[in-house]
Symmetry: C3
């Protein structure tokens, strides 16, 4: 399935996989927490954990023709998702003590997927601008699926800065890679930037302008 | 499109097609009934019949790279879906006399798609565990699409046993095939098990535990 | 990505691209206007513009295996979508003065995508009936995505004639091409027929029969 250029080192492949799996885990927790809040049953929690954790990656893989998508062909994605669901099922009260845990895990997943998705698209030979868009899609896909399944208007469309944070993280990866900067540094900076923008935007209630009472930004 | 291993007999191909078409029909009836209940017009009923009947199979075919999906490239899927929609349009009162007809047809579609989807994934060379997951996806996809289009939280997420029934049927197919049991027997047993679990779960209001007031299953 | 038969002239390719981009623009405006109406912020408007403008084309491209889809791999789709979103953000009051602007732009997008989608499917070698269905899918996909994201029951399922208008336009393209009629004439007639059916259906409140109080059409 995953056949990068031969000159891509095994280290990078392993690191992308690790980022992807951690992203899957935290997004799966966000999906499972949303399911617990809505009083879904055990299997509903598992389904939402899998959907939130993997919708972004599956969408990316379909778009870049990496089929079957890793989330289907690699058992670890399923295992990580179900583990997140089971942990949430038993310890959701612990997770709830975090302030707005769905948002924190969602933000972490957004950051991890944005950089991992961008990197995977670059590995598949897509051009940098498209790779950044695919990183954003990978990041926002899980949250959209979670919210659509639960009949909410997706977070990405509500009023806080969201997709733009993913795009910023993806842009760091693309630019850093073009400049030949060290891979690990670029990925960490991209993920941190995305996570920081997202969390600060929530905490300070940053909002983008709406198109209502004034005609200019 | 559908290019199985040469050693797969034509009989199995024909049987998978037949199961798929019957599954499409009953799911399409469930979609059309849901549309009638919501007072949609003739074309809305046709669209929901097609969407409910084919979303699961299209998703499976995209994921295993069997493109264009059979539901698009083979006119019989469209014909069967529209036939189901038209029958429902004219005779929905007859169908309504069944107790909770959407649930019964939905359950039958779930069972047929779970086994046919698993078999098709095996034919395409996917490993057994993934094939079972794809069977489940094929089974639950139609109902999810129907409910998302009608703005309901999908049945699979509500409190009755649903996806787990599909998974049980798919597991029977995978295990039976690995043991070399007769093909027809395996398919019939898988479908019956799935259907039985689903219907008994509805009738007896079986529920999986929720994550609310106690911390353990 | 887009590799038609060598005997397909460059003129047709360019014309399909132009129709596709104009369709993307008008659908993107319909998505952005819907977002403005719901008081989404700037980025939410951009996301809905992109989703409404490109969901139909992406679905078509995934189904005919034209991956990565043009909407992802060709920067012009993104540019046109964002331009539509930005124009709507600043001048939504001007657009609002049109009577029911979402419906008018939605109808124009439906018409343009139905003919362009049909043509692209024919170019990819699909048979005529399937090409017409894919044209319809291309046409209705954007509106469905827009409405699902905003938590509405999709327009296509509500009571006005919608998908059938797209199907009529697609049929004109298929039949005209089989008869060897001039390409431009066929495309213009198909698009006009679809747009006219859709708009007249809205204005005159044409409705298809429902399945409720009588048993026959």
């Amino acid at each position: 399935m995953f056949e990068p250029d031969p000159n891509v080192s095994g280290v990078i492949k392993a690191a992308v996989l690790a980022l992807d799996l951690v992203g899957t885990f935290v997004f799966a927790v966000s999906g499972a927490m949303a399911a617990v809040t809505r009083r879904l049953d055990f299997f509903g929690i598992m389904v939402l954990a899998f959907a939130a954790g993997n919708a972004g990656g599956i969408t990316r893989d379909l778009l870049i023709d990496a089929v079957p998508p890793a989330a289907i062909s690699d058992w670890r994605y399923m295992a990580v998702s179900l583990m997140a669901g089971i942990l949430t099922f038993f310890w959701h009260r612990v997770i709830e003590r975090l302030r707005s845990p769905v948002q924190i895990f969602d933000g972490a997943g957004l950051a991890l997927f944005a950089v991992a998705g961008t990197e995977k698209a670059l590995v598949f030979g897509l051009n940098p601008a498209i790779a950044a868009v695919l990183g954003m899609v990978t990041g926002i896909g899980g949250g959209i699926m979670r919210d659509v399944l639960l009949n909410d208007v997706p977070t990405v469309l509500r009023s806080e800065i969201y997709a733009i944070a993913a795009l910023a993280g993806a842009a760091v990866v693309v630019i850093g890679r073009m400049l030949g900067l060290p891979w690990a540094l670029v990925m960490v900076c991209g993920a941190l930037l995305c996570f920081a923008i997202r969390i600060v935007a929530i905490r300070r209630s940053w909002r983008l302008p709406r198109a209502s009472s004034s005609r200019q930004i």
